[in-house]
Point group: C2
Chain length 114, copies 2
DNA sequence: TCAGTATATAACTATACGCTTATATGATCA
DNA sequence: TGATCATATAAGCGTATAGTTATATACTGA
């Protein structure tokens, strides 16, 4: 998120970013647990570059953070973003996406580094 | 707002609509008090068709309602919209636009039908 | 160091969006 | 009824956006 933004710009930029169904769902997922790109590709049935580009927008705005573990990069909601309270508020209105994560597990496609 | 929309569609559509700075500001204003198109034209320094088109989008989604008074049509936030709680939540994060209304008064451009 | 896997970036395309100008519709009032 | 004011709609334009395929970068492990 740019430094010289007033609050109105901040809020509208966040809403614009999350006005996309894919990114909104991503945030709901990444609030629950961190995911790597390949997991999100599987969940969204979407090309890997497309997923990467969405993540980059979210990251550029400070909404998610990345955490490399070996060859994977795990993304999760950044709890230190500006307007984090707004974001949490929004996400609370998004239907749970837990079934997506459960299906990943079922297919044995969940990446774990523990 | 279309009838066969799931909750995720509803939420993302609202965020997309309010991801525009003009419409977001409009909602903040129209929550405070109803305004007619010509007042909004003055406030936003924008062409009348542009303002009308923004209002139509908000109205098509059920976010605002209209109220004709003589030759004017006054718009205000619709308290019976789907996801109204979400909308109120969002608007609470938008900086106050009261100064806009005060300036209208000062310029003698406020339309009153009482 | 090389092959394989994960992710990012570049380039392109089709569509959506916001704005403008021009015009149509609708209400008021003499 | 005709002039005027308020609002809506139509058409067109420039730009932004989300997706694709192709390619580059980066890490892992033999």
């Amino acid at each position: 998120m740019s430094l010289n933004m007033d609050e109105l710009d901040e809020v509208s930029q966040i809403l614009k970013l999350l006005g996309d169904k894919t990114r909104l769902t991503m945030m709901k997922l990444l609030e629950k647990r961190e995911c790597c790109v390949c997991e999100l590709v599987e969940i969204f049935k979407m090309s890997q570059p497309s997923v990467s580009q969405h993540l980059r927008k979210l990251k550029d705005a400070g909404l998610v953070k990345e955490n490399r573990k070996g060859q994977w990069i795990f993304y999760s909601v950044n709890p230190n973003s500006v307007q984090h309270e707004l974001i949490q508020n929004l996400i609370a209105f998004v239907p749970s996406q837990d079934h997506q994560l459960e299906e990943l597990e079922k297919k044995g496609l969940r990446i774990s580094c523990d």
